[in-house]
Point group: C2
Chain length 243, copies 2
DNA sequence: GCCGATATTCTGTCGGACAATCCGACTGTC
DNA sequence: GACAGTCGGATTGTCCGACAGAATATCGGC
């Protein structure tokens, strides 16, 4: 049966301080770039000890709501950077033991559609970036780490072409989780590089021509190819991704 | 010209402590449910002050890597809960001023495909949950908050039908960002509720019959309907979402 | 106005302290 | 044996005070 009383929650001071600052940020009462008052000042305002304020600040810092400028001392209000958010998501997924197959399936959901949208909305500079990344990938020698980094950058750049920050953020963790296993695949499947170059070329052409269907189809092929590559490389598909 | 030496980065002790514990967790050297040593003990092991350890712990706590059991005192290793991760993502998107249109577009990318996969992979218990949520939504009176919560739960439950944790996590922030504006829409468009019930019924039927195409089509209609509802409610589509 | 030296501020870290409270063990009662 | 009291140790939340070193502001000189 149902309990009559809810457990009362005694939130510690450092959490209340953090929540208070956070709400000011979310309400845009404190804006991006504003400098936060000094710790002693905050301690005075909240009527708590500086240690307590510091613990609250660590929390905000790891949420990405405040940050320190390069080599700087004072804290500034900042907005969570996509890279940080994405790394948090990847960490969570990795810890939950998500398999390669799940990541791949999610990419099959997102990437082809993203490519189609990119074909409709891309801007010239973004197309140039894709072209640049493609030729850089082709020019790379045997440095596999570089190669994988370039492939990942290609995916990210393509996501940016959609002009949709939600899609950019949804996609970032996927490529991040993919890259370690992608390394193994490129190592062991000789023809992988050529196939990637080809797919990228066709994608670029479709996006240049603003042809969504063609872009979607090629992206689908491209992603499907990854799975084929994994199978060829003898990597089990229920391999738990790691970062 | 290029500098010979890179600036060495002097990471503060609390960050090194946090990184050290985090790496132990990521390497599964510390497993889910294990109790963390007491603060004084950690301070002794790392040879730093307890205050320093505490700042490190706050960081891990807000990343969701350690948590405290209900009313407990000791810290335990835990895996980031999807809800926490999703709320971090939504916060980031909201702070970046993402518009309703971007969220909607992302939903158009993810949800129909997710529905198709759900139709292929759902289990019986999950289908029952969808049915339950649908009838609960229909039975609800004029309590709009309850209604929206139920709609959101329906989306989440449908995502779980895909058996894909990546999709679940990718989708969660979207519904979260959608719900505040969804409230406004249901308030102002009288026929909205009936249309939602109908769409959910058709979705359930398609998923029950394991018919991916039908599920995809109905989900597409369903999401498209949201946008129509917004237009009817006179909500501007470049409205910045908030949480 | 620009530049360098100096003073000031602020952070990172430390040590110690104390109340609250959680936990486990122990005890006695029904 | 199940259960309510009691008690002591362990642990957290919070505080205080302190100090070195780095970043920042100030000021005098050109």
């Amino acid at each position: 049966m149902n309990n009559l009383f809810e457990p009362i929650k005694m939130e510690p001071a450092y959490r209340r301080v953090a929540a208070s600052i956070e709400s000011k940020i979310m309400a845009r009462d404190l804006n991006d770039g504003d400098t936060l008052p000094a710790e002693t000042d905050l301690a005075r305002q909240f009527q708590v000890n500086r240690s307590t304020v510091r613990e609250a600040l660590r929390e905000l810092q790891s949420k990405g709501l405040v940050a320190r400028r390069e080599g700087g001392k004072r804290l500034f209000i900042s907005h969570p950077q996509p890279a940080d958010v994405a790394s948090g998501v990847s960490r969570a997924l990795a810890l939950h033991g998500v398999t390669f197959l799940e990541v791949w399936e999610a990419m099959m959901v997102i990437e082809p559609q993203a490519a189609a949208i990119a074909a409709r909305k891309r801007e010239t500079a973004q197309l140039d970036e894709l072209i640049e990344l493609n030729s850089r990938f082709e020019a790379l020698g045997s440095d596999h780490d570089q190669a994988i980094a370039t492939v990942v950058q290609f995916f990210r750049a393509l996501a940016r072409c959609t002009q949709n920050r939600v899609l950019v953020l949804a996609q970032a963790p996927l490529t991040r989780l993919l890259s370690p296993t992608l390394a193994r695949m490129i190592d062991q499947v000789p023809q992988a590089r050529a196939r990637i170059v080809t797919a990228q070329r066709h994608l670029i052409e479709a996006i240049r021509a603003r042809n969504p269907d063609e872009a979607r189809n090629w992206m689908e092929k491209h992603i499907r190819d990854f799975k084929r590559g994994y199978e060829l490389a003898g990597i089990e598909l229920d391999y738990r991704v790691a970062i």
